[in-house]
């Protein structure tokens, strides 16, 4: 008797059938409804619109504006045209920050996604236990700063438990945060620890949408779990995976907290990620104009990466039906 194909007891049918209703709001003949709810809509949307305009839209426009100036918070503001962008291309620290960030993102995303898919599939096939899922989610509840400090201690060179374990196996102690080779992979894996469970739960929810009949039919045909994973699970999971990937990649580029409380960009520039570099430029050197220019470049890079990802993964189309 395999428990793996058991229908999910907690699936709420109402939630499952939502998307198709959602995309086209049922347009039944309305009961004496006015042609438009514009007045009510304006009232309902005003607070959010105020917040959106004040803290998203205007700052976004201003950010682009600052990038063409030498704004330094204090003193006069001068329009400098494309000077910031020209300087940026000559700035070895900018290219270093970009490279370091990319290394971080690649390690972080690859490990996290592979692990999360693995854990999600394991849970999908083994258990619907809320306790298991709760424990997997636990690291996500802890602030980045806390996560960073705990692993900073676990990976401490002289007294950290990680090096004690290595010593037990006869391996020389590793300076995880202190070496320019290991610092970025270490930080990347530390953040895998925090976000992997959350990602796994998102993917797990995506797995619930795959009709179990597919697996039943496949196993009747004698397909192995391995073939089912590559032939059913992964293709049908693709739209979910694509969205999860886009969100995690954009999030991964924002690596700051861990660096700020552990390595502070060091050793030398080995962990000076782009967020940390922008932070230093803006709040330690007060080069707001230049920092804004780098933010604009980051925005363009992220937009491009998101579009490419969505295109490659064809996130809008499901293989289902």
């Amino acid at each position: 008797m395999t428990t793996t194909l058991r229908p999910s007891p907690r699936t709420k049918p109402g939630n499952r059938s939502r998307p198709d209703k959602g995309s086209t709001p049922a347009r039944k003949r309305s009961v004496r409804r006015p042609r438009t709810d514009l007045r009510a809509a304006l009232i309902f949307i005003t607070p959010a619109a105020v917040g959106f305009i004040a803290f998203f839209l205007v700052p976004a426009v201003l950010g682009i504006g600052y990038s063409f100036t030498d704004y330094r918070v204090f003193g006069p503001v001068n329009f400098v045209g494309l000077d910031n962008y020209a300087a940026l291309f000559q700035d070895p620290l900018f290219w270093n920050a970009l490279g370091v960030t990319l290394e971080y993102v690649v390690i972080n995303i690859v490990v996290q996604t592979v692990l999360a898919v693995g854990v999600a599939v394991l849970m999908h096939r083994l258990t619907r236990s809320i306790v298991v899922r709760g424990i997997i989610l636990l690291p996500y509840l802890v602030a980045n700063v806390v996560v960073a400090l705990v692993w900073f201690w676990i990976f401490d060179y002289s007294s950290g438990i990680a090096n004690q374990v290595l010593a037990f196996f006869g391996v020389h102690p590793v300076s995880f945060f202190g070496s320019d080779v290991f610092a970025i992979p270490t930080i990347a894996l530390v953040n895998v620890w925090r976000f992997m469970g959350y990602t796994a739960l998102l993917i797990f929810a995506g797995l619930q949408t795959i009709p179990k009949e597919y697996y039943e039919a496949a196993s009747l045909d004698g397909a192995t779990e391995n073939r089912m994973f590559w032939g059913i699970t992964l293709p049908l999971l693709r739209p979910v995976l694509a969205l999860v990937l886009v969100i995690s990649v954009v999030g991964s580029f924002q690596i700051f907290d861990t660096v700020a409380v552990t390595t502070k960009g060091g050793p030398v520039n080995a962990t000076r990620v782009i967020y940390y570099y922008i932070y230093e430029l803006a709040f330690e050197k007060f080069k707001f104009g230049y920092a804004s220019a780098i933010s604009v470049v980051l925005l363009v890079i992220l937009a491009a990466i998101s579009l490419i990802q969505l295109r490659i993964l064809r996130a809008d189309k499901s293989d289902l039906g």
Partner: protein, 308 residues
């Protein structure tokens, strides 16, 4: 790092062997892999506790000991300000814990309450009301999802500074108080799924939009709202960058910022690990307790947040 390797290799293969019936060895391997993942998830929490209950003087010699070395709760007492720091074991830093806890609770609660409520209002307008320009307006809101936060953080900092709000609760709360694109998007998906009939029969009874929103939509969406609130609370509680920029002053300092400063004060040569771990554990505790109380609902619903 080393702790993570076993699960990586395990994640691809064990599922392949689950369904062999005679001896479910594949299934055992799969369970073992899942257990390793759970163990790795839990271990740092234990390590915080074990270190916090140790004394700094004993930590270097008992580094490999899985139990507390020199068992003592002095670190908790020191961090909580119950006893005065004595200077043994490297650090004399203490943490004005209760103040920072209060600040974290105030800012996170304000952010969550405002953001969820106002986003729900907007989501209602986007999902249930008919008005010209609705789709276009929603699309503009959505584009904000793509903007990396740092892009708007610098101008927002200048805005807050020019408003004279630096080092106030308002500074920490305001940018997240009215909405996030994610919150609106998330709730709109749920509101779209509520059947028109319920709404229309309420209208027949003469209920207005406000009544429908408060008496019908909100109660019917309890679970997604709770899930969103928990996610918002976690995000607000964990935020470091923004409060560091606008609220590092002692009287509005939140726990994450306080931890960063506490860490910066501890000497590089002989860090106060015991005190640091006591502080991190205490800082993590409120959310963990909250999770114990309402975690079940959150775990069940978390999937919906990322997907549709």
């Amino acid at each position: 790092m080393s702790a993570l390797t076993p699960t990586r290799t395990a994640s691809t293969s064990p599922a392949t062997r689950i369904r062999r019936r005679p001896i479910p060895i594949g299934k055992m391997i799969a369970w073992a892999a899942l257990l390793v993942v759970m163990l790795v998830s839990l271990f740092p929490f234990y390590w915080m506790l074990r270190t916090a209950l140790s004394t700094n003087a004993d930590l270097p010699t008992g580094a490999g000991n899985l139990l507390p070395v020199g068992l003592s709760i002095s670190s908790f007492e020191r961090v909580l300000g119950i006893t005065q720091p004595t200077g043994t074991g490297g650090s004399t830093a203490s943490l004005n814990f209760w103040l920072y806890l209060r600040n974290s609770i105030i800012t996170s609660t304000l952010i969550t309450a405002g953001q969820v409520f106002f986003s729900a209002m907007a989501a209602y307008a986007f999902a249930r009301l008919r008005w010209p320009g609705r789709e276009q307006a929603f699309f503009i809101f959505l584009t904000a999802l793509m903007i990396p936060p740092i892009f708007i953080t610098l101008p927002n900092f200048i805005l807050i500074k020019n408003l004279g709000l630096l080092n106030t609760y308002a500074a920490i709360v305001l940018p997240y108080f009215f909405m996030t694109p994610f919150a609106i998007f998330f709730l709109r998906q749920f509101f779209l799924g509520i059947s028109r009939e319920v709404e229309e029969s309420a209208m027949l009874d003469g209920a207005g939009h406000a009544r429908i929103f408060f008496r019908l939509i909100l109660p019917m969406s309890r679970t997604p709202i709770l899930t969103l609130a928990m996610l918002t609370y976690i995000t607000a509680w964990s935020d470091y960058f923004w409060p560091l920029l606008v609220g590092s002053d002692d009287n509005v300092r939140v726990l994450t910022v306080a931890l960063g400063i506490f860490q910066a004060q501890t000497p590089q040569t002989g860090p106060d690990w015991s005190g640091l771990m006591a502080a991190t554990l205490i800082a993590a505790l409120p959310i963990l307790i909250l999770f114990l109380v309402i975690g079940r609902k959150v775990v069940e619903n978390i999937g919906y947040s990322g997907i549709k």
